[in-house]
């Protein structure tokens, strides 16, 4: 193993661990909520292992309990996860050099933080390698799965996340990710449009559609902005160096 590879593994593990810590309460919460809604621990673990998408898992188990038609549960999961379509399109230029199976496996781990870290690495002009993606993904995935089981064993010990203040952790965490991109072109107009779009859509259309509709508002603003001399976009720079 070359020193450069070791550095990549260390960087991926360090970043992945920070993500895992921030996501830990939600893995436990998911396990507890799942058991509360009638799933077995094995089913909750299977869901974490195969969906590996926190928000949609919580939405899914909430619906399990309400005698909702199975296809509607699956559709809701799909709707909550629809944003990943945009993620995989956005990082396409950064992972194009990987082999088919490398892409097929690393895309399985494409969560919000995995996406944000991949974009950040590409922003810094560093080539996104398979080993880096995989270590980053696994260092979030393994704790996520283990803590789901812990949550299931603890049962409804933390049935009220508000009481212990962990309900604000995820929004704060995502806000930190948003702030991390503030040097990008059109950042402020995009954030303002997405904020307004998602708040209005939540009010008039409802969840989870406010995510896709709000994102669309921000993306449209970016697409309609005048294309000026700033055109050395991030994707181009990275492709040039790769």
């Amino acid at each position: 193993m070359t020193p450069a590879t070791k550095d990549e593994i260390r960087d991926a593990f360090r970043r992945g661990s920070a993500v895992a810590i921030a996501a830990a309460p939600f893995a436990v919460l998911f396990g507890a909520v799942a058991i509360d809604n009638g799933l077995t621990i094995a089913e909750a673990a299977l869901m974490s292992a195969t969906l590996y998408a926190g928000a949609s898992q919580l939405v899914g188990v909430e619906l399990f309990d309400h005698n909702v038609a199975p296809w509607l549960v699956v559709l809701s999961i799909f709707a909550v996860n629809f944003r990943h379509v945009l993620y995989s399109a956005a990082i396409a230029a950064h992972i194009r050099h990987l082999t088919f199976w490398q892409k097929a496996t690393s895309l399985f781990f494409l969560t919000d933080p995995q996406f944000a870290e991949t974009e950040r690495r590409a922003d810094a002009g560093i080539r996104v390698s398979y080993i880096w993606s995989l270590v980053l993904g696994l260092s979030v995935y393994v704790p996520w799965l283990c803590l789901t089981i812990v949550g299931g064993l603890l049962g409804n010990l933390i049935s009220d996340p508000k009481a212990i203040g962990i309900d604000v952790l995820l929004p704060i965490y995502f806000m930190g990710l948003v702030l991390g991109f503030r040097s990008r072109a059109n950042w402020l107009p995009v954030v303002l449009a997405s904020s307004a779009g998602s708040i209005l859509a939540l009010h008039f259309v409802g969840s989870p559609w406010h995510v896709s509709l709000g994102a669309l508002a921000g993306i449209l603003v970016a697409a309609l902005m005048p294309l000026d001399g700033d055109e050395a976009t991030v994707g181009d720079v990275v492709e040039g160096e790769a």
Binding site: A42, T50, F64, F78, V85, S88, W187
Partner: protein, 103 residues
């Protein structure tokens, strides 16, 4: 087997997992099929992180109640200076303190 898994739940999880994986590869497959990405599409893709992640923040910040809104405002201010983990810690302390006072 019956105590570990229920058939209908298993099928929902399997379908949900497939649907989720399709969203994770779908954008890549779509965009790489395009011969050339127009500059405006490039600008749109460049905006994806801020545009999507914002929708996971803004509604929570305005509909979560006064305690959550104030906490998010504080987190925004410290987030301009500090890195993620300290911001999370500060946010957690702020919301716990606020809930002591405004219930």
């Amino acid at each position: 087997m019956d105590t570990l898994f229920h058939m209908q739940t298993l099928l929902i999880i399997a379908a949900g997992a497939i649907a989720t994986y399709l969203t994770r590869v779908g954008g890549y497959v779509f965009i790489t099929r395009m011969k050339r990405i127009p500059p405006r599409a490039e600008a749109a893709l460049n905006a994806v992180p801020a545009a999507v992640l914002t929708t996971l923040v803004a509604p929570a910040a305005v509909t979560g109640g006064l305690d959550v809104s104030l906490t998010m405002a504080v987190a925004l201010l410290v987030g301009l200076r500090l890195s993620l983990l300290p911001v999370l810690a500060i946010g957690w302390v702020v919301v716990m303190v606020l809930r002591q006072f405004i219930g």
